[in-house]
Subunit: 324 residues, 2 copies
Amino acid sequence: MHSPKYFQELIDEEIAALSFQSKPAELYEPIRYMMSLGGKRIRPSLVLMSNELFGADPQKIIKVALGVEVFHNFTLMHDDIMDRAPLRRNKSTVHTKWDANTAILSGDTMFVKSCQLMMSIDSGFSAEVLSLFFKTAIEVCEGQQLDMNFESREDVSIQEYIEMISLKTAVLLGCSLQLGAILADAEPEDARRMYAFGKNLGIAFQLHDDILDLYGDAEKFGKQVGGDVLSNKKTILLLLALSHKNKNKVDELKEWINKPVANPEKKISAVREIFEHLGIRKQAEEEMEKYFQIALNDFQNVKVEDARKETLMNLAESLMIRES
Amino acid sequence: MHSPKYFQELIDEEIAALSFQSKPAELYEPIRYMMSLGGKRIRPSLVLMSNELFGADPQKIIKVALGVEVFHNFTLMHDDIMDRAPLRRNKSTVHTKWDANTAILSGDTMFVKSCQLMMSIDSGFSAEVLSLFFKTAIEVCEGQQLDMNFESREDVSIQEYIEMISLKTAVLLGCSLQLGAILADAEPEDARRMYAFGKNLGIAFQLHDDILDLYGDAEKFGKQVGGDVLSNKKTILLLLALSHKNKNKVDELKEWINKPVANPEKKISAVREIFEHLGIRKQAEEEMEKYFQIALNDFQNVKVEDARKETLMNLAESLMIRES
């Protein structure tokens, strides 16, 4: 079984080979730029590792893995416009480096390219592959819409939040693992278990990300600590705190949310103190752990010998390692 | 053979039945709105008419026709953001009625929906159908990029312009006709002829649209006469005029282009006079007629008896009827 690092490098090479050298350059240069920003290439690695898990040769389905990665980067390009994000992986976002029109149209083109990659392998599974891919793509759009809706809502429940991150983030991890399984001709039940494994892992992964915002090592995390606190982003931490029965502390928290940020450090430390008082970090970690355990349980039920599962298990665990 | 009106009504009914009632409503309501703005439904009608031309039952492939229409409306929704267009069919555009983020994300969702529709019929042709559809979708994006590039270029040749409108507008008409033919199991050569027929018809159609901007009946055309002139849009009329050998008149035209519009009516009549002097309308009509004749020639070569071709021929001709 190959390591995540092996697959990451393989995918980086294949992305470089795609090159997007077509014309007009104004359309393809932003795509090349976006795809070259790097990252851990988790989703395409999941496609390939799941495929290898069931005894197939992942080299044969690398285009499908690339399709997932191009699709993921398309969603990031459009999300960055919608979120007015200036930076991605410490580089300018496409709509900042060029403009919003460029990011819209290059993003659209990336989505079409991802479809082409997705159907470019010769297999009897293409209808199944495309159905799963399109269903997931719709869900990712719905998740992004829910995320935007939440910005102006004051009554988001934990359940609604889990549903949102499930759609926006987690289903694509599930889809990736299921695609690899389908293309290895795995038992349909095992393919569905791989989907559940990825989806629950994705939820745990996003909850972890929420926790890291406030409790992560700034250097390792690569983002400003407390950024979500400053922007009042409805993360698992904030939602758990707002639904706490300690009315005094909740009111205190709402005050910080509603007043303009005069002193960022002061707001972060005040909110951190409220969270501390309410035991929010522990609750959030328990929630994360819950989904991680569901994910592992799904994975354990997959009918493949344990030794073959080791590298995927290591990858799953590495996603949950606390950077704090 | 059924009439264009029959197909238009059938498509309107099917679009109403699609309904887009899913949640979140913030994502689907703009899609429902956009799809209900109406129009002649030319592209899906071409899919169905081409299918019937080759003796198949178009009812069986209505989902593919809808896929083309949803895709077309997706491109319009995103183009309207890029062009900052306030109105479409005399109604507010989606990014005006809601906002740009809504138009981006609802548009993305429409594109995925069009893919789902495109593969939702049970046929042995789905790989061929999707390949053609994705190739065309990429070309439409490239055409839109070229169109935007042209805004800041002073040296656009007639050939480049034809290439741009071919990608942005015409290939989707070709694709529609070829899809109908493929799904009727037409000879590959005939399917390719249908594509060429549609593509050349599309070029003629766009040139006709350019001509109507200045020479159309305002009421029938439904747009402000001379709108392209006021915005210095590089239409076939302007490009033919700018490439004319009469240097004095070209300089005069450039002056009108470069100075701010103090009096819109005055600018339109001055430019109209220059075009008159240079015989631009006639040249543009000859160019349009050239592509229309190529289109008809492609259609005539399709190996189907003439009687069956009548309704499609009538539709093609109706697209070229001068509204002036």
